[in-house]
Symmetry: C2
Subunit: 211 residues, 2 copies
């Protein structure tokens, strides 16, 4: 199974590394990283670089994962990326995104009429691309699987692993990466976080997502 | 606050990227990546590279994070890494590890007489380094904070964020990365996974952790 994961400058590292740790453990998985073909790209906080990227020339993959980032304006306007996504979509079994990666899928025209999700601060923007924002953490509509913000990529990838290889393989991967989450606080969604925390992030959304 | 994260070849990417996404959002955080100073290192599945690394010459940091990997034999025997860890430990406020990274802290002599944890398949090996294996997902003993396997680094980092900057900052980070985990299966620890899944991984532990 050929899995293509998109890389670009200032993307959120965890958006792709969560799915990488899950999907790379699928039997027969072969992961490639796709982007502008330059060297390692800086990630969101700037100091960590992700590398191993080839360019957009290969348009065949069974599974595609598109990460988000705090500012995806450049990716929304990137003709080459959008054309690659449309080309690879034609043969792919699963098109997936994490966080604001769903806006990129949307900009490529792939989410029209679909239910989808994104980072909670920008999920309403999915309507610009003809998609219907849905409140779940992982939304699967046809072959389009979108996840909420950043850490939701792990849940999305385990969901996909179960659909691709069956629940026992997905459970084996979950135990291998010891994914038994125990957040020390209850603040992971706007529905559960203290109102002042939600208010602070809404008032400072530009610090988190700027596009 | 200076945060140093260790990188090495074939480390598990999520071990460091989980804490990176959390700790890089702490006010005033400055993250550096430390290792042998070579170029980007291949991670566990081989196709993703992590870069941005400086060498071991800087021995000052407030927080240190050591990732694990499927085979840390080379790191356990790496004199330069162990000496760096002992030197930086002298001035650090927090020494943290994820997964088999605790074995590396142990090999540096830093966990003697401490409670600590590691990936569930190798936690008993902490005894070789004079540490007492503890069953929690995140174990804090003095300034030594160790996490269970792979994904546990996110929980550890949020715990540390709360201790360093207070619960409201930690909650703000948790909501920013939308960490409201919803694993689609209940198989993240040997206590909750189906017995046949636990048995398969125990019988094939060499596929997961080989040192």
């Amino acid at each position: 199974m050929r899995i293509a994961m998109v890389l670009y400058s200032h993307m959120t590292a965890l958006d792709i590394v969560g799915p990488y740790e899950v999907l790379s453990r699928l039997p027969g998985a072969s992961i490639t990283f796709v982007g502008d073909g330059s060297g390692p790209v800086p990630t969101d906080a700037g100091s960590l670089f992700l590398g191993g990227m080839s360019d957009f020339s290969d348009i065949s993959a069974d599974v595609v994962v598109v990460p988000g980032g705090p500012d995806v304006a450049a990716q929304l306007a990137d003709t080459r990326l959008r054309e690659w996504l449309r080309a690879v979509d034609a043969g792919a079994t699963w098109m997936a995104s994490v966080c604001t990666g769903s806006l990129i899928l949307g900009a490529a025209g792939l989410l029209r009429g679909r239910r989808a999700t994104s980072h909670w601060l920008v999920a309403d923007r999915l309507r610009e691309f003809g998609a219907e924002p849905a409140p779940e953490r992982v939304v699967v509509d046809g072959k389009y699987a979108t996840a909420a913000g950043v850490s939701a990529g792990i849940d999305l990838a385990l969901d996909l692993a179960g659909r691709i290889a069956g629940p026992q393989v997905a459970q084996t991967i979950q135990l291998a990466i010891e994914y038994d989450p125990r957040p020390p606080f209850t603040a992971g969604s706007p529905a559960t976080a203290p109102p002042e925390v939600v208010g602070f992030l809404r008032a400072n959304a530009h610090l988190i997502v700027t596009s």
